[in-house]
């Protein structure tokens, strides 16, 4: 199965379980969790189910397209369901079956893995899912997001698309993976991989990046004071990506590192709090709609 069909299969599967299908959020980010569709929507009492593919940028993992396993940008298929459904593990295992992975022919295990993202004030408990010894999915029950306790709890399922594809397609090199008929990952992503690696490690302008970080941070705070959560959060994401670029180039000493992470965390916490307050002002509309639907039926 090529990557395109894998994505289509997963989309069909999760939309069948009530997930809104969305597209990648258009700001650079290191993981699907950072998308506002996850980070913000996991906050508060409103129900939320969504699935989307998130291209994730990890500047430090750039290898000029020379390493068979590491990429500057890889793809995550991200699912969020709030509250976490009772049979979520079964739904997930069905998605593997839909991808042609018959659990009876393989060894599938849920191995403890607790997830924490201190720079976003997030923590969760769950597993990494092993397929014949390979980690193919992160499965997490969010306990805290942006420093706020989650109630109800969201479950986050993150498939590593390239990882899973390399298993399904039996390829040793990520660039040999077939995206769709006649197109490999190499055809589509080799040039950007090389260029982004060169940019990250060689040609980026550090002074500019440091300046940008400060400007983005300032703007994020300013917009939050206006109660504009989404513009503010976009700037938080930009801060985070800029920090990653600086960090990958070794421009941030270990001492400073803690300081920068703390600055990102403060922003994230403030955004989380503001988002909750703004939704509360609106009367948590999605929760209200759901309650009305239930009452209407009764």
């Amino acid at each position: 199965m090529n990557i395109q069909n894998m994505i289509l299969t997963l989309q069909k599967h999760w939309s069948g379980h009530g997930c809104i299908l969305m597209n990648a959020y258009d700001t650079e980010k290191g993981a699907g969790t950072m998308s506002p569709y996850t980070f913000l929507r996991a906050i508060g009492p409103e129900p939320w189910s969504v699935a989307y593919v998130e291209p994730s940028r990890r500047p430090a993992d750039g290898r000029y397209g020379e390493n068979p396993n590491r990429l500057y940008q890889h793809h995550q298929f991200q699912v969020i369901m709030k509250p976490s459904p009772d049979n979520i593990q079964e739904i997930y295992l069905d998605s593997l079956r839909a991808l042609g992975i018959d659990p009876l022919e393989h060894d599938i295990r849920f191995v403890e893995d607790n997830w924490e993202n201190p720079s976003l004030g997030c923590a969760g408990l769950g597993w990494e899912v092993w397929l014949d010894g390979m980690e193919i999915t992160q499965f997490t029950y969010f306990q805290q997001v942006g420093g706020l306790e989650c109630k109800p709890v969201s479950v986050e399922i993150t498939y590593g698309i390239e990882r899973l594809a390399s298993y399904i397609q039996e390829k040793e090199n990520v660039f040999d993976l077939e995206w769709t008929d006649g197109f490999t990952v190499r055809d589509i992503f080799m040039q950007p991989e090389y260029e982004h690696s060169k940019y990250t490690f060689e040609t980026s302008d550090l002074d500019m990046l440091f300046q940008l970080f400060t400007m983005y941070e300032k703007e994020a705070h300013r917009q939050m004071e206006e109660g504009l959560v989404h513009p503010a959060y976009d700037y938080v994401l930009k801060c985070s990506h800029t920090f990653n670029l600086l960090d990958a180039k070794g421009a941030i000493s270990v001492t400073e590192r803690t300081g920068y992470i703390a600055r990102c965390r403060n922003l994230a916490r403030k955004v989380a709090k503001t988002f909750y307050e703004e939704r509360e002002k609106l009367g948590f509309p999605i929760l209200k709609q759901k309650e009305e639907r239930i009452n209407g039926q009764a």
Binding site: P68, N69, P83, S84, P85, D86, Q89, L93, P103, L104, E105, H106, D107, I108, R109, F110, V111, E112, N114, L125, W127, L131, D132, G133, M134, Y141, Q143, C150, K151, P152, V153, V155, Y167, E172, S253, V254, T255, T258
Partner: protein
């Protein structure tokens, strides 16, 4: 009384493997406690657990609580009847309170006085009516890590999926979160299905049909049998690490052992790298030949049956290949770098915000190493080797390999140092300075390694104490207790002629020189002493030394730990001998009275009033001289007790607390001198003799 079996199964999403066994034991303990508290008799408890379930099967549970026959004592006879001989209010009230009538009253003498008594009988309630209390037992389970899920408030190890609560063939009604108890269990995720349990005793067999081996011991044996079979078929030696076996056992409900291979070229990697990749990251058992050499194979345990094993094996091989390719890439890359550039990098690594960089830390460790080397009178060459080892001890921390495999710190340092042409002693010391790595690890074999280990650990402890980070209760984030125990263990085994306080103070001096000290020096030193004393106490305790002896030995400073252990053994032997009590009493008398000495003066024989004072003084001087060159702690002890006769005579004929100031001061000063000599061995007055 009729008996039934009782079954409780908590069905869960996959629990963390490391908590399964302890949680099973906890459930069993709670069940036992509850039954005992309720006075419900039972025969025994069988425990079961898999990643997805915790269960207890209690055999032979009584149908009802035990009836209680109890004698209750009431008011005295004289107030039990009124003047006309009728039962008084006191008597009636008492019987009512006990749920009996006045007809049940009889009299019995207690302490020469007659009292009202009744025989009370409490009928035990049927167990089935009490069993719903098991809800509390289930929800009160405590786990090291808890979570919430969906919109539930309960915090638990993982979401609860189903609950079986069965007494005989009756379901005990329990409602926990959104789950209601029943008698249906679930089988293996893929091989099995749901199964109704008609009676508790069918539990294990019913699950077995659904491809779940619920008894962890049986599961473990299946794994061991599978491993043994492979060893026989292939002529391999597969060492079984108990911790790994335990973990793997709690990752599967139905184990099948299989093996896979990897390319021979990878065997060129250091063994520890291969083993860590297999064990820590993939939970594989490495495979060796009969000569103990690693072979390019691994053994893993699948959660399933033996169908399609070739697919599972191939998948696992692919994962390991990717990991080992990474490792060999790192191994090659790391070898391109030199030690100097690595050390340069350490200057940018912050060890702790308030303490400074790793490079600064190692500069201090290097100085402390030099001081220890001098104190231990190392040769010039050995001093140089220790110094070099201290200088480069942490250079591997910036290697790719240690970044990817943090548990290989030190081990990679040794490998790389050798490859880069460092002397063998230096390379070995880099690895050894982390030893002992855990409670049952051995101390560094080499002298250089041991010195570096003590210096590095002491620096860590003293720096954290200097900025006020001191372990309390369960809070010890920097594992300072383990490191202090490491120092104590090394000093005790290496028997260096060094006092612990001296090393501590040398390290403290470094903190002051570097301006790290954030607290009062004496206060810090006091805290450090108490901290180390607790570790030494622990060590002596493990050596089987009696409590009061340990306290006596640790009354003053710790000093030389090896000597302390020896003294402990001497006291253990001596306390069995005749006359020990008398000896001890004589020595203790001196210590006890010497406490009153406030301003010690030089003892003046001119002020002696009787010959016994002079005799004790002379004896003391002779003992003092011999004590300095006693040679053994046994001899030292014997010298001290040789003072006994003189001490006894002295007290018989001398009033220490004389009215005359001068006389008193002189006598107390003599007592103080002798007391100091005795206490230098141990606070004899703290030893308990029966």
């Amino acid at each position: 009384m009729a008996k039934h079996d009782l079954l409780v199964e908590i069905g869960l999403e996959e629990m963390p493997a490391r908590f399964v066994t302890s949680s099973m034991n906890q459930l069993s303990k709670k069940m036992e406690k509850w039954l005992n508290e309720k006075a419900i008799e039972f025969d025994h408890i069988n425990m079961f657990s898999t990643p997805r379930r915790l269960a207890v099967l209690v055999k032979g549970v009584a149908e009802a609580q035990k009836d209680i026959h109890e004698e209750a004592k009431g008011p005295a006879k004289k107030i039990a009847r009124d003047e006309s001989g009728n039962w008084s209010k006191a008597a009636i009230g008492f019987t009512r309170g006990q749920g009996v009538s006045v007809d049940d009253i009889y009299f019995k003498e207690v302490g020469g006085v007659e009292y009202v008594h009744v025989n009370k009988f409490i009928k035990g309630q049927p167990s089935i009516s009490l069993l719903p209390e098991l809800k509390e037992m289930i929800t009160s389970m405590s786990f090291p890590k808890n979570m919430r899920w969906a919109d539930q408030d309960l915090r638990y190890i993982r979401p609860i999926k189903w609950i079986i609560a069965l007494f005989g063939n009756k379901i005990i009604p329990l409602g926990i979160t959104h789950v209601t108890s029943g008698n249906e269990t679930r089988g293996h995720r893929f091989l099995g299905g749901p199964a109704a349990i008609e009676a508790p005793e069918q539990y294990e067999a019913a699950l077995s049909k659904q491809f779940v081996v619920a008894d962890p011991v049986k599961r473990k044996n299946m794994i061991l049998d599978g491993i043994k079979k492979l060893e026989d078929e292939q002529g391999w030696d597969i060492p079984v690490d108990e911790d790994l076996l335990e973990e793997v056992n709690n990752l599967v409900e139905y184990p099948t052992v299989l093996f896979g291979g990897f390319e021979k070229e990878f065997l060129e990697l250091p063994q520890e790298v291969l083993i860590t990749s297999m064990k820590e990251h993939q939970r594989y058992f490495p495979v060796k030949n009969q000569n103990g050499e690693l072979l390019p194979f691994f053994v893993t345990v699948r959660n399933g049956d033996s169908r399609h094993l070739e697919i599972v094996s191939k998948g696992n091989e692919k994962v390991l290949r990717a990991r080992l390719s990474d490792a060999s890439f790192f191994y090659k890359e790391d070898q391109k770098k030199d030690i100097d550039s690595a050390l340069k990098k350490l200057e940018t690594i912050v060890y702790h915000e308030e303490i400074g960089t790793l490079s600064e830390k190692m500069a201090r460790v290097r100085k402390l190493t030099a001081q220890l080397s001098s104190a231990l009178q190392l040769s010039e060459n050995a001093k140089k080797l220790a110094d070099r080892a201290a200088e480069i001890a942490k250079f591997d921390l910036v290697s790719h390999m240690v970044y990817e495999f943090p548990e290989l710190q030190g081990y990679m340092g040794e490998k790389y140092a050798k490859l880069l042409g460092e002397p063998q002693e230096v390379a070995a010391a880099i690895n050894e300075h982390y030893m002992p790595r855990h409670a049952i690890d051995s101390v560094p074999p080499s002298l250089t390694g041991a010195i570096l280990s003590v210096a590095e650990k002491m620096d860590t402890i003293v720096t954290f104490f200097s900025i006020g980070i001191i372990p309390t209760g369960s809070q010890d984030p920097y594992a300072l207790r383990r490191q202090a125990s490491g120092i104590v263990q090394i000093l005790s085994e290496k028997k260096w002629e060094l006092s612990l306080e001296k090393i501590m103070k040398a390290s403290l001096g470094e903190m002051e020189a570097k301006g790290i000290m954030k607290r009062d020096r004496n206060e810090t030193l006091h805290d450090l002493e108490q901290f180390f004393k607790a570790r030494v106490k622990h060590l002596l305790n493990e050596q089987g030394i009696r409590y009061d002896l340990i306290d006596a030995l640790l009354e003053n400073e710790i000093g030389n730990i090896a000597i302390l252990s020896e003294r402990a053994s001497v006291l253990e032997v001596k306390k069995q001998e005749a006359g020990f009590k008398e000896n001890l009493e004589a020595l203790s008398r001196v210590i006890n009275i010497a406490v009153k000495c406030e301003n010690k003066v030089e003892v003046s024989p001119a002020l002696f009033e009787n010959k016994f004072e002079a005799k004790l003084y002379e004896k003391y001087q002779a003992v003092y001289a011999d004590y300095q060159s006693a040679g053994s702690e046994t001899r030292a002890f014997e010298l001290l007790v040789s003072l006994k006769a003189e001490i006894e005579d002295y007290f018989e004929h001398t009033m220490v607390m004389a009215d005359d100031d001068k006389l008193r001061k002189n006598r107390l000063s003599l007592m103080k001198d002798i007391s100091d000599l005795i206490s230098g061995f141990a606070a004899m007055n703290k030893i308990i003799v029966s």
